[in-house]
């Protein structure tokens, strides 16, 4: 499966069942990648509702790109795994799926936030970085976007 994740300086990605942070420019960037690859996106209803409110995706576009019906809990991760699709994770524990991730887009906030879900230390060593770029966010001065593929 393929994973899209936003992390802070401690590789944390969620706190108290919520995202750590959000940024409209980051979301537009993510959508740009999906459009370019004509790829779908699996996510839960928490992320979906927020993307619609943020007006990054139109409802129609989102409907085309997301798994339907909306998947509760971590069911969207199972679907992403089955279909080798992209999963956008904001507030779901991905521990059980970490070994299944073959490709990953990591957005780094370059900030320290509260976290209770974190990537394990050393996890990124299992991957090779293919590319990295800096994005100027709408509320974050500099967000790093890196693309990784699992080392064979």
């Amino acid at each position: 499966m393929k994973l899209i994740l936003c992390v802070d300086e401690n590789l944390g990605y969620s706190f108290n069942h919520r995202r750590q942070s959000r940024d409209k420019k980051m979301r537009e960037h993510m959508l740009g990648i999906l459009r370019k690859e004509d790829a779908g996106l699996f996510m839960n209803s928490y992320s979906e509702a927020s993307l619609i409110k943020d007006e990054v995706f139109t409802e129609d576009e989102l409907r085309c790109r997301t798994a339907k019906p909306s998947l509760a809990g971590d069911a969207f991760l199972a679907r992403a795994d089955e279909e080798n699709g992209w999963a956008f994770v904001e507030n779901t524990d991905i521990t059980e799926y970490l070994d299944k991730v073959d490709e990953m887009i990591l957005y780094e906030w370059n900030r320290l936030y509260l976290s209770d879900l974190r990537l394990p230390a050393g996890y990124l060593k299992k991957f090779r970085k293919l590319s990295e770029e800096k994005i100027r966010g709408s509320s974050h001065d500099s967000i790093s976007c890196s693309r990784f593929v699992r080392r064979s």
């Binding site: 919520r18 942070s21 409209k24 509702a49 409802e59 909306s70 936030y113």
Partner: protein
């Protein structure tokens, strides 16, 4: 049956179908976009809306009874800078918070200790410039001990209850406690970033309350209880009840006085006591001026220094105030512009 009756029946059937289709559409729409918050409750605007109380420009109110601390069980520090309490839900009533900014810094207690800071933070009261000097404030238990293994060397910082970034407060004694470097950076900084970035991104408001927790007549607080709740989205993005431990790994603190010692036997250095890695940067006569800080690398520059343009925006902060205070906080002058 008359034609008039037939028309009436057809109209009624059409109206009924229309109503049904609207209801079905609403149900489908709700299923497609689940988890949207319910209609927000009617806001109640506090009497202090839009105002800052207790920040030096007006009288400070007396703190209410801190009922939320009664019976509060705080687990001992176990290696994490903070811990969630009360199921990570604020103790205050979230139903009646109006999206209107205010900030209140309550009176010090009889021992001169901070009691409570409470705010609804919005973009209208957030800082849009650098912070000023806070060195004239000496919170209870203040010491200037420095250790080589502490980030920035200084064990204690003047730690804001509500960060300067959030409410633009500088030298307000009702908003500053003696806090360890560890609590300031690993605990408070993390949650302040979270709240501040959310407000910047959304333009929404966050109810934000900070309560220092004191044992007996100690002059150093045990920690800070921070509660936060995003108002417009009803806690969808920001909802926490965090206790940040006022500890410093490797150092034993006497909370009654602020005295301290290192577990590894290192002798602390105090300001002016003897030469140290930081004291070489102090000037005999303090200089008040504008400096550009690299808050990540803990360096300070003159505003026209070439090195300023290389500082990442998120690490850059303008500061106006005492040069020596910066050095005491662990900042090192740039070797290029030699501020």
């Amino acid at each position: 049956m008359s034609s008039r009756k037939i028309i009436l029946i057809i109209s009624a059937v059409l109206l009924l179908s229309l109503a049904l289709s609207v209801i079905i559409h609403q149900i489908i729409k709700k299923e497609q976009i689940p988890d949207l918050p319910a209609d927000p409750p009617k806001p109640v605007v506090p009497a202090s809306a839009g105002a800052a109380e207790g920040n030096g420009s007006g009288p400070a109110p007396k703190a209410p009874e801190l009922t939320w601390l009664k019976g509060l069980v705080i687990p001992p520090y176990s290696g994490e800078a903070y811990v969630a309490l009360n199921g990570n839900v604020p103790f205050f009533d979230t139903a009646l918070i109006a999206p209107v900014s205010y900030e209140i810094y309550y009176q010090l207690d009889d021992l001169g200790r901070c009691t409570l800071a409470d705010a609804v933070v919005g973009t209208d009261i957030m800082a849009d410039g650098g912070r000023g000097s806070i060195s004239e404030v000496r919170p209870t238990g203040w010491h200037t001990d420095r250790y080589s293994f502490v980030d920035g060397e200084a064990l204690y910082n003047r730690c804001h209850l509500i960060a300067h970034y959030l409410t633009d407060e500088d030298a307000n004694p009702r908003n500053l406690v003696t806090g360890t470097r560890y609590m300031n950076t690993e605990g408070m900084n993390a949650l302040e970033n979270m709240v501040g970035d959310y407000i910047k991104e959304t333009g929404n408001h966050v109810r934000y309350r900070v309560t220092p927790v004191w044992t007996g007549e100690n002059l150093i607080c045990d920690g800070l209880l921070v509660e936060a709740w995003s108002v417009e989205d009803e806690g969808e993005d920001i909802c926490f009840c965090i206790y940040a431990y006022n500890v410093q790994p490797g150092i034993v603190i006497d909370y009654r006085t602020g005295d301290n010692y290192a577990q590894n036997g290192e002798t602390p250095v105090q300001n002016g006591q003897n030469e140290s890695s930081y004291s070489q940067y102090l000037t005999e006569e303090d200089v008040i001026g504008t400096y550009i800080l690299n808050v990540k690398r803990k360096k300070f520059h003159l505003p026209d220094c070439q090195g300023v343009k290389d500082i990442a925006e998120e690490n850059k902060e303008e500061y106006y105030g005492s040069r020596n205070e910066l050095v005491e906080e662990g900042y090192v002058p740039c070797g290029g512009c030699n501020p």
